[in-house]
Symmetry: C2
Subunit: 253 residues, 2 copies
């Protein structure tokens, strides 16, 4: 049985707490955070504390706080023997101050109040000791079927890739919504297409899945589209993305 | 009972044929196309023909061919009394040559061999006669729960919006895959995130759902990301999309 302390009370902390509380191999021992009100939601399955000097002894301390306070929070754990692991995609293993360092990065977007199936979420682990890596692997496997050993350099690139497929994709959804609203149309019209586009690349490479005027180099359609756009940044994006798609598929034309 | 003829033998023709064949209100009468080999897959539920001069009489002729041959195909139906409807997002109602004109545009991406649930697909209909619109509505309702009356101008904008949320989004998935492969990582790592990103906007506006360094105006993280990118077009895209997200959410910062 692995004894776990979570540091942090945000979205990710809550989702991890829910998953760990259900896992048979895990003793979800304590949640520590500054925000007393946020702490209350963790009181059902473990003890809570807003005092970083009263952290209980555990096998793994999971730091689920904003990137820029990870090293500060980790300092409170300098005397602990357990693994101190952060949960960030962008931060190196070395940001952890205590000697027994780890990373426990679930590659997913977490939304307040929206349940996620942790079993499918890839968890990327890293540690500076072989034994700690084994422990993190047991912990990750207790809540997910997709556990990957990934080093800090790889993780940074992965995090960047996540920005493209999550943050930037979401921004394109926003443009879609905006164009609908301009015509008095509901964004609902685009929702099945959005789901199918995501579903398609679950079994097919994005290269194969690519369709549209740019892939066909259908200049007439692209010109028609550009006439319909009024915002400067939408026009620039349309041109840039179409050009990139065209180049990627040029050899087929 | 509506008697239907489909003109065309591609992906969309096949998906429509499957849906119409199952619909109680529809008599899937004939599929007409030039490609004899492709025609074979339609022979189970109706008659097939590669002769455009032997098209049977029907209530609706659904033209499911490439945009640039719609008007040409529609000319073969000049003497018909039924509604001649194309299925394109980008083409005006007026491209149809016969007098009884319509549009029957299912807003979805169709993949060969990949089943789709037609009941959730928005079908956008348009006609130049009130009675024809009613008929198209009955036909659309027979296979989908989401039927919208949308005019040609609106449809063009919708089609453009679809390019953003489908074609361009898929290209971003491709960049994600490329960045993974550069580090020897599997694209599988990003798949749950891609699904969740799409799922999130089914119940939340993209504006609300937006996360990431650009939304937080986290300059340090964005600079780190730019250092990791090597391709010029990826750098340009990263900057452009980050800037656009930042501007959209500027007031909150």
């Amino acid at each position: 049985m692995l004894k776990i302390v979570i540091l942090g009370t945000g979205n990710l902390a809550k989702h991890l707490y829910n998953a760990f509380s259900k896992a048979k191999e895990v003793n979800m021992a304590q949640v520590v955070g500054r925000n007393l009100e946020a702490l209350q939601q963790f009181s059902e399955h473990c003890i809570i504390s807003n005092d970083f000097e009263t952290i209980v002894d555990a096998d793994v301390y999971v730091i689920a706080v904003k990137d820029d306070v990870i090293d500060e929070v980790s300092k409170h754990l300098s005397n602990k023997k357990g693994i101190v692991a952060h949960t960030s995609g962008a931060i190196s293993l070395s940001a952890i101050q205590p000697t027994n360092k780890g990373v426990f990065y679930p590659l997913q977007t977490f939304t307040k109040g929206k349940a996620v199936d942790f079993s499918t979420i890839p968890i990327c682990i890293e540690a500076n000791e072989e034994k700690s890596l084994e422990t993190l692997k047991i912990l990750a496997t207790s809540i997910s079927e997709n556990v990957y050993h990934i080093d800090s350099e790889q993780r940074k690139k992965l995090h960047l890739a996540a920005v493209f497929v999550n943050n930037f994709t979401n921004y394109l959804y926003g443009i879609g919504e905006e164009l609908c609203l301009e015509e008095g149309l509901s964004f609902d019209l685009l929702k099945p297409l959005i789901m199918e586009t995501a579903d398609k690349v679950q079994t097919m490479s994005p290269y194969e899945a690519q369709t549209g005027p740019a892939r066909r180099n259908d200049i007439k359609s692209m010109e028609e589209h550009l006439k319909l756009l009024s915002k400067k940044e939408h026009i620039t994006l349309y041109k840039l993305l179409s050009q990139a798609i065209k180049q990627t598929h040029e050899k087929e034309l």
